[in-house]
């Protein structure tokens, strides 16, 4: 290669390299900004939650929160309610999503619109609607006893979680040829119970878990429904603590974040536990 040719080559190749390094620098700057934007408040909150004892860092706020009987009662209540809501959501959404994919594919946009409604309608409107429909003087009184109100609350939570649960399951089903798998199972003699629980459920399990954990997070932090129905849930407890204590709300927020991240980690872990899902990743 002559010197002139080498010169030409370098003038031709240098500008893209320069552009690439500028682009790379910009990407890193954006990434750093995003990390700081999300991490700094969390770090600040965590640091603040450790300052309960004067002059030194301690976990006193966490100890206070975890030893508070009200925390234990409300947290347990919300965990149980979230499990009930997940079961209810699954029982409602999984067969519906499968049925829509197999028998009513043209209805999918309508169903998707319906499942999005809880995001559009304010929770307080839904809660008041429930109170009007199911109060003690209605045709189906469900606010007369604690257990009936709990059932009503679970239905309310299931409604709130519907957009996330439906989308998670529908996305899982999208990776499968539901129609053909159903027909393959049917021709081998399987009934609907076997098709749903032995074929569909294991194949959308990871998607289903993400829907379940999202539901768990929603139920754990939900305030309006629980407050209006006067149930001892974790959401109202967090609001109450936030209004009456200084360091404990920050500790509660850190605990809530830890639980959420733990759930996300579990989703990843669950995906690895099923060998058949390895191909998808």
């Amino acid at each position: 290669m002559t010197d002139q040719a080498a010169l030409n080559t370098s003038t031709v190749t240098n500008p893209p390299k320069a552009r690439r390094s500028v682009g790379s620098l910009f990407s890193w700057a954006m990434f750093t900004f995003a990390v700081l934007y999300f991490a700094l408040p969390l770090i600040g909150m965590f640091e603040f939650s450790l300052r309960k004892r004067r002059g030194t860092y301690s976990f006193d706020a966490y100890t206070t929160v975890l030893q508070d009987p009200q925390f234990q009662a409300t947290f347990t209540y919300s965990v149980v309610m979230s499990l009930v809501t997940i079961a209810l959501g699954l029982a409602l959404v999984l067969p519906a999503a499968i049925w829509v994919r197999i028998r009513l594919p043209k209805m999918r946009p309508v169903i998707e619109f319906i499942t999005l409604l809880p995001l559009v309608i304010p929770v307080i409107v839904i809660a008041f609607g429930y109170l009007r429909m199911f109060n003690t003087s209605s045709f189906l009184p469900m606010t007369g006893s604690a257990s009936a109100t709990n059932v009503l609350l679970a239905f309310g939570y299931a409604t709130l979680a519907l957009p996330y649960m439906y989308r998670a399951i529908d996305n899982g089903l999208r990776t499968l040829d539901v129609q053909t798998l159903t027909e393959a199972a049917q021709i081998l003699g399987a009934g609907w119970f076997t098709i749903i629980f032995k074929i569909m459920l294991p194949n959308v399990f990871t998607a289903l878990l993400s829907g379940a954990f999202l539901t768990f997070s929603i139920v754990l932090g939900e305030y309006v429904f629980a407050a209006l129905l006067d149930r001892p849930a974790f959401g109202p407890y967090m609001i109450w603590t936030g209004g009456n204590r200084a360091y404990e709300p920050a500790a509660l927020a850190v605990i809530a974040f830890t639980i959420t991240w733990g759930c996300m980690g579990l989703i990843q872990l669950a995906g690895r536990l099923f060998p058949h899902t390895r191909a998808k990743r």
């Binding site: 027909e183 049917q186 021709i187 194949n203 099923f274």
Partner: protein
């Protein structure tokens, strides 16, 4: 008595009639192919037999029992799908044993049967793998084993080879046929690939527009096509319009040249009948036993490996002929004037073999030319 009978089957989707008065009798152990273009109704017929579609009219009987109103899971039919449809969460062995488990077969017996099926398809060591760890051909073999494991009364194959590459298709179709003959299972195979249908089947049903145009052995379907559609769809041919000169002697004229078809014609003198000539029936140059000599100009040469397909203009007709590929005889260049010899007996009379039924010049028959 036929083992599987389809009587006057009709199916409409809204205003569209997809299957029209379809009738078929299949003997026990027979391999039948439903062959036709997309939208001809072949898959719909198969799905009605499986129970996935409800017929608008007609009935399906298996072994003398009407199964028309039975659900798919009550029919004891095996089916292989185009998209394999293996259950992704189950291993190969679990997939094959799925039907056995549903049927309540004991664990030991099911394991034996599963192993037997895996040996049958030549994958005895892959029972522990998941479907995603198999190639397309292996997956389709497993799907076949899964369909056969519960010993179904009838096996349905819905274009099982369509998703595979050419070499695997050929080897797998031979395997499927071998396994079918070994087990003696009554089989209906849906395909749009004439080569598959002709090479695998005892009989072929050529479907078009929801009706069975012709039902016959592969030999008859190819050599005695009953309709212009069958002649056009199965194999290639050159179509000719011929004037009947002497029906009793079977003499006709094509573009003024007279030839004897060697059989009596039922069409009247002066009528126009439609004749077809397969590419392999014509020879380049003069050949013994081929008394009719045509002159043409080469307009197209397709090299297809073992054969070379030429297209030559003979008058206004583009005549297609095949020659064997010989390394020492290259194909004639385009524009070369050639002699083509044909035997009058090789002309196929369309619209009823040997009948010489006069055909109307519909756009379809025009197109065939």
């Amino acid at each position: 008595m036929p083992y599987l009978t389809i009587n006057h089957l009709e199916k409409s989707f809204g205003p569209t009639r997809v299957v029209k008065d379809f009738n078929l009798s299949v003997d026990k152990g027979e391999f039948i192919s439903l062959l036709g273009p997309s939208g001809c109704g072949k898959t719909t017929v198969l799905r009605i037999v499986a129970g996935f579609e409800e017929p608008s009219a007609g009935s399906v009987q298996i072994d003398g029992r009407d199964v028309t109103n039975q659900r798919p899971n009550q029919r004891n039919i095996g089916m292989v799908f185009q998209a394999y449809a293996l259950f992704p969460n189950l291993t190969v062995a679990q997939n094959v044993g799925f039907g056995l488990k549903i049927a309540g077969i004991g664990r030991a017996e099911a394991a034996t049967r599963t192993a037997e099926m895996l040996r049958l398809i030549g994958l005895p060591d892959l029972g522990g793998r998941y479907p995603f760890q198999l190639s397309g051909g292996q997956q389709q073999r497993v799907a076949l084993a899964r369909a056969l494991a519960p010993k179904p009364r009838v096996l349905l194959l819905d274009e099982p080879l369509s998703a595979l590459d050419a070499k695997i298709r050929v080897s797998l179709r031979q395997e499927i046929r071998q396994i079918q003959q070994q087990l003696g299972i009554t089989t209906i195979f849906v395909t749009h690939d004439q080569e598959e249908a002709l090479s695998m089947s005892d009989r072929v049903v050529v479907m078009n527009g929801g009706i069975a145009e012709q039902i016959g052995t592969p030999f008859d379907i190819y050599n005695k096509p009953a309709t212009p559609f069958v002649a056009g769809f199965v194999g290639s041919h050159t179509g000719f319009d011929a004037q009947v000169i002497d029906p009793a002697a079977g003499i006709v004229a094509i573009d003024g040249a007279q030839l004897s078809l060697g059989q009596q014609l039922t069409a009247l003198k002066g009528a126009t009948i439609r004749l077809a000539l397969r590419p392999e029936a014509a020879r380049l140059g003069r050949a013994d036993g081929r008394e009719t000599l045509l002159k043409g100009r080469v307009v197209q040469v397709q090299f297809m490996g073992s054969i070379i397909r030429l297209s030559a203009m003979v008058g206004d007709t583009a005549l297609t002929l095949d020659t064997f590929n010989r390394p020492d005889t290259p194909p004639p260049p385009l524009g070369t004037e050639v002699e083509i010899s044909v035997a009058a007996r090789d002309f196929i009379i369309l619209g009823g073999a040997g009948d010489g039924i006069a055909t109307e010049q519909t756009p379809e028959t025009q197109r065939l030319a």
